[in-house]
Amino acid sequence: MSASPEPKIQLMDVHKRFGHKVVLDGLNLTVGKGESVVVIGGSGTGKSVMLKSVLGLLTPEKGSIKVDGEEVIGLGLSDRERVMKKFGMLFQGGALFDSLKVWENVAFGLIQGLKMDRAKARDIAFEKLAQVGLTAEVGELGPAELSGGMQKRVGLARAIAASPEIIFFDEPTTGLDPIMADVINNLIVKCVKELGASALSITHDMASARKIADRIAMIYKGKIIWDGPVADIDKAENPYVDQFIHGRAEGPIKMEVKV
């Protein structure tokens, strides 16, 4: 799928530091309309901070983040809530609300965010649960009663419940067995395609990245060091990308391991 001229999300020269630690160091990235971009990179390279900066959970010191051409850094409360209605997010650990039933979790954005009638939101929640392969009985359970894979599926159902224009996936397959990981990858591809949404995912699972991405970008030390179509990643001729996708300890990326 090719990107349209005006990007859905555009990050330009984004800088973020915590104390003396520079996490984002002039990051540039665009996500086109209907495009699925996966950002790969090791732990601590700034992937999560990048996502949280777009969502307004963290505020960068410098740079620009635009969603549909609108600058989102420094937005006021009501504008932020308006922009957030475009987003859905699948969190790494699911981040399901333990105090609510599974269906209430899925319907949460519809009831609280879109002020939908509870009964109608309940019907949509069960529909979305069915879409990710979960039965109505699961909807009546609490999140603590579900396995990791089921929690991820509920998280996915919650992310797509309000039919968002943009969906973020934070390490969608981490902690899952390879078969369940593939099930989640297939669901992500299916849901994103059905909604026609733009997707931005972060992962260090290459199998997942190859499956869900139209385009892959690699982040290293707070910068995008390679960006290209998924088919080009194996011929990237970038030593950092090469080391990462083959999972080699030797190469330009040095892990700080004390023995």
């Binding site: 949280k52 969502l55 957030m84 981040a95 954005g109 973020f168």
Partner: protein, 258 residues
């Protein structure tokens, strides 16, 4: 010498930063308390949690305190033949001081800790971030209902606690110390003024606000995993208890200082 100055400076800066963060959080919480959307279901749930489920612990604390108060004041006053003042001492001590302070400290332990643990767990498991992505303001959804419930339920709890405490003193005075029931009750009413009860209820409202605020603040700002949530819980109870004792003095001074 330079090291010492650096350390002192660092401590002072850390204190000022913490005070500033708490002040901003308080202003933010108060703003969201009065601006829509409101969440009646959540407010009702918190009111039941704080008000109804704290009744046993507050009731037990105040009844035994009332009983001890009657026994101790009788022992003291008997030394100069002023046993008749027992009922007055019990009712004034309960309504002005013991009711609000004991209820405040007990609820700080019960509710402040659970608020910090619940919100802290939500923070470290990214549930608070999830609220934001679902177009829901966590200050409105989590903090405002708890503060409103604390502010309104503590005075009701204290009023019930006052009655139970006075009843405890009455039981001991009548059945153990041999007071005449009618005389005891008459003396209880005779010296009790509106301001004695009212000041206690004002204290209770302030303490309820403090308990909810410290529970929410510490939980909301917890970091790390289980250890961070544990620290937030401890800080919520300790800071709320200390602030309750400080504000108890300040409010007493405001109401009764001549």
């Amino acid at each position: 010498m330079l090291d010492f100055v650096t350390t002192v400076g660092r401590v002072i800066l850390a204190f000022l930063m913490a005070t500033g963060r708490l002040a901003l959080f308080t202003v933010n919480a108060l703003f969201h308390l009065f601006t829509p959307p409101f969440y009646p279901r959540l407010i009702a749930k918190q009111m039941i949690d704080i008000g109804y489920y704290s009744l046993p612990v507050v009731g037990l604390t105040t009844i035994f305190s009332g009983m001890v108060l009657a026994l101790q004041s009788y022992t003291g006053f008997a030394r100069f033949s002023a046993e008749g003042a027992v009922s007055t001492v019990v009712v004034l001590s309960m309504t002005r001081e013991l009711g609000p302070v004991l209820a405040g400290l007990m609820v700080a332990g019960r509710i402040g800790a659970s608020m910090a643990a619940e919100i802290g767990t939500m923070r470290v498991t990214e549930q608070i971030d999830a609220l934001v992505t679902l177009s829901t303001n966590p200050m409105k959804y989590l903090v405002a209902p708890r503060i409103l419930a604390g502010l309104t339920m503590l005075p009701i709890l204290v009023l019930v606690g006052d009655i139970i405490g006075v009843f405890g003193g009455y039981v001991i005075s009548i059945y153990k110390l041999g007071f005449n029931p009618a005389t005891y009750l008459t003396k209880t009413y005779e010296y009790l003024e509106f301001m004695d009860v009212f000041s206690g209820l004002v204290k209770a409202a302030v303490f309820g606000f403090i308990i909810a605020l410290m529970g929410c603040y510490n939980g909301y700002n917890s970091k790390g995993g289980a250890q961070g949530v544990g620290a937030a819980t401890t800080n919520a109870v300790v800071s709320a208890s200390i602030l309750i004792l400080i504000f108890n003095y300040i409010i007493t001074e405001l109401f009764f200082a001549r």
